[in-house]
């Protein structure tokens, strides 16, 4: 995986990918890829361990969002 992505195994549940966006103020994103295919997206906007938002995505939704974020998805 690329630099700055921290990988953490969550036994029995899946794998967690932590990405620091701006470590000065604690902005970070954690993505849990579940064994069942579900993705849990955690967004932190401060240093607290209380996430600002948590979104649970199906595999299909995750692919869609991934494609848009990656810039490969477009119409016309």
């Amino acid at each position: 995986m690329g630099k700055g992505v921290h990988i953490q195994e969550l036994p029995g549940l899946g794998t967690r990918y932590d990405i620091d966006l701006r470590s000065s103020n604690g902005e970070r994103v954690s993505i849990v890829v579940g064994r069942d295919g579900k993705r849990h997206l955690y967004v932190f906007t401060s240093r607290s361990d209380e996430p600002a938002a948590v979104v649970e995505l199906t595999e299909e939704q995750a692919r869609k969002i991934g494609a848009v974020l990656g810039g490969t998805f477009f119409t016309d």
Binding site: K3, P11, G12, D18, F44, D49
Partner: protein, 492 residues
């Protein structure tokens, strides 16, 4: 042909509706399945779905087998083995304290030796399903202590196999101590044999199971699973272990993912029937006589879990919040307790064991989510000295590093750009590592001489970092873990 379809349908429907109601309030499902059985059972007033609960035996037993098969199937062997020694210490402490307290409780109730062992297992082994769901619902997947919690409950699952292997011969009874030891030996020998099959025979099993069509895979697989479970019971090892172990075997074959997909809906339905059937067997009238023992057991469970949480936090360098979360998240009891209760019923033990475990599971089902969600209050009263001596994080913050040796860092930068020891013997190296205690620069483990590791073995300086540009990682030899700046914290 005689079959009570109306009763069965009503039971499952009510169980599903009750469980849905429970889920709305954030409660686990298993106790509600059991509750449906209790409410519609022959011993409770009101409508009775099944006059003869034993008509459900076959379906319930199948549910038990599938439940444990699925547990073995999704057991994350690699993740557990890869997580290091500390996790096993933590899980060992957790299991030891809980089972030990359970045994003490079981013996002090004076119901008998067999009963004591069943109760020890029922109060000592937590429900992985409940803990996992709680972590997701409480939005704690990103917390530092979460991998530890998950690791502990997964190791507990494995411990269940050993505990069952010990328990089945004890329950079966033996005329002499020698016979008992022999039976336990057979039980563990069988366990080892199945482990060997899982390790070396999975390829052959995979060949038997594999087919292009899911339908065929499903049928051959279920046939094999039920047969192995039945044979295990015949040998005197519990059917539950057989099912769990064949799950571990299938998990190592090529059809693992398909097997999981096929097993999940089967498990959901038939395991629910198993829990319902257990509820049917509960005599509500008997619950009154076990209220006090149950309340004491719940109290003991809370204390032992918090203690185990503190030990785990010390081992992993977690702070108060982490300690409280570990202790209080693993509080739920469910499927495993009910499996043990069913074993007790089957062996004809003291009649109070069933109602005792039923009430215990029901109370913890309500208590566990509430307590876990409010762990921060416990975190506030845990004194610093119980945790790591040189703890440097504020009490409420849950994020920490996985390494407890960061306080030994003395030096982080160097101008050195060669491995002196390699230069002396005229050798080359792949990458350079630097000791963070004394600044010693040496070659990495991909190099032929592995001087950095040799330096650790000489000096016992635990931490190194990579000197490659942009690598930015540190490694701790003692904890066998990669260390990074804790996410969201620049304090160090």
């Amino acid at each position: 042909m005689h079959a009570n379809l109306i009763g069965l349908g009503a039971l499952i429907l009510v169980a599903g509706l009750l469980a849905r109601f429970g889920r709305r309030m954030g409660l686990p499902t298993v106790p509600f399945f059991m509750l449906a059985g209790i409410l519609l059972g022959p011993s409770t007033g009101g409508p009775v779905a099944f006059d003869h609960p034993e008509d459900l035996d076959m379906l319930a037993l199948f549910g038990l087998v599938i439940l444990l098969f699925h547990l073995g199937l999704e057991f994350p062997v690699e993740q557990v083995l890869g997580s290091g020694k500390r996790l096993f210490w933590a899980a060992g402490a957790y299991i030891g304290i809980n089972i030990g307290a359970g045994l003490a409780l079981g013996f002090s109730m004076g119901w008998g030796t067999k009963e004591a062992f069943v109760i020890a297992g029922a109060v000592g082994i937590s429900s992985s399903a409940i803990a996992t769901k709680l972590l997701i619902e409480m939005r704690r997947l990103a917390n530092a202590e979460t991998p530890v919690i998950l690791g502990i409950i997964v190791i507990e699952d494995l411990f269940l196999a050993f505990y069952l292997a010990l328990l089945s011969p004890i329950l079966e009874g033996a005329s002499s101590a020698g016979e008992l030891i022999l039976n336990i030996g057979i039980s563990f020998g069988y366990l080892v044999a199945l482990f060997a099959v899982a390790r070396w025979g999975a390829r052959w099993i995979g060949k038997v199971l594999d087919s292009r069509e899911d339908e065929i895979v499903a049928i051959i697989m279920i046939g094999l699973v039920v047969l192995v479970a039945g044979l295990s019971a015949e040998i005197g090892v519990s059917d539950a272990i057989g099912a769990l172990m064949i799950g571990l075997v299938v998990a190592r074959t090529s059809i693992r993912e398909r097997a999981e997909r096929i097993a999940v809906p089967l498990r959901d339905v038939f395991a629910a029937i198993f829990f319902i059937a257990f509820g049917l067997s509960i005599d509500v009238g008997a619950i009154g006589s076990v209220i006090w023992p149950v309340l004491i057991a719940v109290g003991i469970t809370v204390v032992t879990n918090v203690t185990a949480g503190l030990i785990t936090a010390r081992l992993f360098g977690l702070n108060q919040r982490g300690a409280a979360n570990v202790g209080l998240t693993v509080l739920g009891r469910g499927e495993f307790s009910l499996i043990l209760a069913t074993l007790a019923l089957g062996a004809g033990l003291d009649e109070r064991v069933g109602p005792f475990i039923a009430l215990y599971v029901l109370i913890l089902a309500v208590v566990a989510p509430i307590v876990a969600a409010n762990s921060k209050y416990l975190a506030r009263v845990i004194p610093d000295r119980l945790l790591h001596d040189r703890w440097r994080y504020v009490r409420e913050e849950t994020i920490s590093t996985a390494c407890t040796h960061l306080d030994r860092i003395q030096i982080t930068e160097t101008d050195e750009d060669e491995c002196k020891e390699c230069v002396e013997i005229g050798d080359t190296w792949v990458q350079l590592r630097m000791c963070l205690v004394c600044g010693h620069v040496a070659c990495c483990d991909d190099s032929t001489n592995k001087h950095a590791t040799a330096h650790y073995e000489d000096s016992r300086h635990p931490l190194i970092r990579s000197l490659e540009d942009g690598d930015g990682w540190q490694y701790c030899y003692e904890d066998q873990s990669l260390v990074r700046e804790p996410a969201g914290s620049s304090r160090s």
